[in-house]
Amino acid sequence: MRSPTTISIPTFWRLFSLRHARTEWMQTVLLLLILGLGVGTFLSIRMANRAAVEGFQLFTESLKGPSDWIIEAPTNGIPVEALPRIREQLGSLPVQIFPVVERNLTRVLPSTGDPGGAGSTIRLLGVDLVQIRSVASSVDNGSMDDFWSIIDDPDHLLVSREVADRWQVSTGDPVSLVLNGRKVSFTIRGILPEFRDSVPLPANLAIADLGALLQRLDRATLERIEVIVPEGAGREATVERVGSLLQEAFGSRWSVTSPTDKEVDGAAMTAAFRLNLTVLSLIALLVGLYLIAQTLDATVSRRRTEIASLRSLGLAPRDIQRLWLSEALLYGVAAGIVGLLMGYAMATITVEAVTTTVRALYRDTAQTAATLRFSDGLLAFALGIGGSLVAAWLPARDAASTPPAQFLRLGKRIPPFPVFQHPWIGLAAIALGALLLFLPPWQPRPGTTVPVMGYATAFLWLTGGTLATVGSLRWLGRILHRTAPDSAPARLAASRLRQPTSRHQLALSGFFVAIGMAASMAFLINSFQHTVTAWLEQRLQADLFLSSAGFQGADSGQRMPGIVLDRIEKDPEILELDRYRSVEVRVNGSRTTLGGSRFDLLGDRQRLLWINGPLDPDSRPPDTDAIAYANENLIRRTGLAVGEAVRLTTPSGPVVLWIGGVHADYARDNGSLLVDLGNLESWYQFSEYDTAGAFLSETADPAIVQARLREAHPGLAVRQNGELMDAALFIFNQTFAVTRALQLIGLVVALAGLALSLLSLLRESGRELSLQRTLGMSRREIALTTALEGMGIALAGLLSGILLSIGLGLVLIYVINRQSFGWTLQLAFPWTDILLLASGVLGLGLLIAYATGWLYLRKWKAAPL
């Protein structure tokens, strides 16, 4: 209940909050920037994640709008002759049938004549240009006459503005490209508009007329056929009817799915990856909240006379608490605005980085721009305001509960919040977190597990650790006291560390969280890198690796024709050629990869890194068709076990595979089954291959064979063992680029927070500083005292943060990573990263702390005592 004497919140803001914010404008700006960075980082990752999922929509959607049904073949495509049969099947139903060929297209560098270079591979769509003439006829603002002349040119190609700029080509220029492992020439006949009916077209896009492209490819099969039901009465019923007719007629041979299924698949496939990024993006926000708490605590300390005066004027403790929370609300709104602006600005970079990672890890996406939605704005304000209010709770309660007399007592050091005086609460939270690890993960849908308990443990350890680190400052203070007993600055700094205030505790908490999370990610990345390197060394046994230039995974459509590989296999210096082909299948309802390679080479030449097995192939039950080796991700997702059978549907009919072993596979996290290539060929009847590994004779020089193959097959990428290893590790590092950036942002926020904390401590020590000057301390000595105090906070945060990172690292590796991605990682302590982190944090901490003290004291004028 309000007391009879009170002031309204707007009056309080006008008379107190805004005036203080203006007087201490530098501190206000710094705080808002830090908070804005926290909210902005979270928002930008949210926008980037959404763009990545939206990017899974088919490239064709941007050209003609969404489809209602998509018909695809697992391998070899759909014959063009199927089009009239589909039309016939649908009878008089009002539908548009949209056949598509989709491929990767790689630029051949004019300077070297070789394919490659950054941004050289784009997506090529072969579509009926007449069906998308609204787009195709608007190239370079051309007329319909131009449009028909484009179609008449068999070598035509239309590219996006970004591709034209990247490749430095314009209309009329010839361009040499690699398509399906062969070098081909095209002529740029136009630049695509950037928008179709205000829908942005993908930046990495080229289109050609379907007929002309099929001729260039020398084939008569389509990647897919999209079916669209136009707007009109009874549309929903028609869509349903079309789906069931298609399913009925072609469901056994081809897959008939809706775009929603595809988007859900894409979202499910990347769910764990996106969740990890979201959690990481919370570091800066979480540290930012500690800083709000710290800043408001400092204002309580600095404005104690104001609080005492308000109390003496008749305001009840509850009113004081309300007013202080209202000030936090003001910070929250401002942080929401700054965060919204910063998030939007940062989204351009994060969208690019996240899309690159998704392309490397999952599949090619149509990169979309970051879009800011109304819900983003709401979330920014909810985070800013909600976070500020939570963070302000303790300082506001402190302001309300401390008796006015205590506030007015000069020289009295206000003790830390009561919660900081009970480290056992923190220890109990840590113990509870450890217990939660024994609970199973959440399974929102078959094949997907979310490590909710792992995240809950991490949260409890972070918050519990914040309370349990209370002793570390005292401990460091004692050590500093013993280390430098004859130094006045060291003795004074040590005494302050031994008797920390809430500001010390909150600054330490911010550091603890930032370092704990950043170092634990270093723990995960290092273990990952260590494991992947060992795995690559095991897997990459061949001397040369072949793929079509522009091959970026099975969905890139870039494969090597079998006849080309047959010719290569005849090279006298090639002893064995291990071809690999993959197709997409569903195992127990989850989308997974079925790969084929030569099992006769396993053991002698090719090696798998076994997690479980392998079983003796002779013990395969007679009622199964073939042996298959599963990767551990599939086992975890489907619950299958070694020795069990799994049934698949193939174009040649159902087959039953016997799981003869589980191997490590860090190339994909959507599961895979490996069978002998001969089996896969007989079930799927294909004549193109994804990759191949060539084993050379002992006398052969890999570089010479590589050069020979490159010359004979300019459309192929031929790489030596070491080159492929480097390329794989490059992709690995690229996938962690966002993670590292988020780590860095968290640390920047923590260091900025240190400066803010020390500034607060200096500001509220005006009288003490005057006293120190009176006693004969020089400004340099006072700055050194501040630096040592700041170093103490940084060091305590570093040590306790590293301790936390070991625990969090183990949870990340053995719980979160395993439940999200299904990968077993070998533990590797990131000595170099921790050393760099430690020296960086301590070095920068010392510098920032000294600079804060020195710059403050340069402007500071001694106050009369």
Binding site: Q499, S770, L775, L865
Partner: protein, 227 residues
């Protein structure tokens, strides 16, 4: 210490309007006057916490106005210390450490520091309270500690601003006795600003300050009976 024509103004308000006086070795002088007369401003100028607008402050043969910050800092460490109405002890240091602190700044050896601190704590009667933090001490104890801290470097001059202003009469009298006794024993000059006639009783000379001007020695009637 010799002061000539000292002037200080805050905006349009002139607080010191040309103050002249001299303070001899081992002399104890009290400056008395009503609130707002400029006593504290004068003391802050002498302590180097505020710069006068005009005038000369000579201390131990040096002109404070011409000294750089480092030299003034060195002077504070060696020869010029202060005692305040609100004690102003360093809150995170215990009693022993507060007294030791000026010696740390002077980089005295540990043995020397320990011996001096023990002796002075003994003199002010705080040996038993050496480990206590300022927040654990009474007002009288805090002021005794502040006196010990001021005298530990054996300065030439101690500036005292209302040293009994925050104490009850019994504790105030004790502090004054202690201040007189110790300044005599340590042969230290004392310049005390006060409006308490009792406090000025330990001084050998009393000056009257009014409207920014230092008047001649106060009339005898203001001087209490030293007995």
């Amino acid at each position: 210490m010799r002061i000539e024509g000292l002037r200080k103004a805050y905006g349009s308000q002139t607080v010191l309007k040309g103050v002249d006086f001299e303070l001899g070795e081992r002399e104890r002088v009290a400056i008395m006057g009503p609130s707002g007369s400029g006593k504290s401003t004068l003391l802050n100028c002498l302590a180097g916490l505020e710069n006068p607008d005009a005038g000369l402050i000579r201390f131990m043969g040096q002109d404070l106005g011409t000294l750089g910050e480092a030299a003034v800092t060195a002077l504070r460490r060696q020869s010029l210390t202060s005692i305040f109405q609100f004690f102003h002890l360093l809150p995170t240091l215990n009693a022993r450490e507060n007294v030791e602190f000026p010696l740390l700044l002077r980089r005295d050896s540990r043995d020397e520091r320990m011996a001096k601190v023990a002796a002075l704590l003994e003199e002010v009667g705080l040996t038993q309270r050496a480990g206590a933090l300022p927040s654990e001490l009474s007002g009288g104890e805090m002021q005794r500690l502040a006196i010990a801290r001021a005298l530990i470097t054996e300065p030439a001059l101690v500036l005292a601003d209302e040293p009994t202003g925050s104490l009850d009469s019994r504790n105030g009298a004790r502090i004054l006795d202690l201040l007189r006794e110790l300044t005599e024993r340590h042969q230290t000059s004392l310049l005390m600003v006060t409006h308490d006639i009792e406090a000025s009783s330990i001084c050998t000379r009393i000056l009257q300050m009014r409207d920014g001007l230092l008047l001649e020695d106060a009339p005898q009637l203001l001087r209490p009976d030293p007995a």
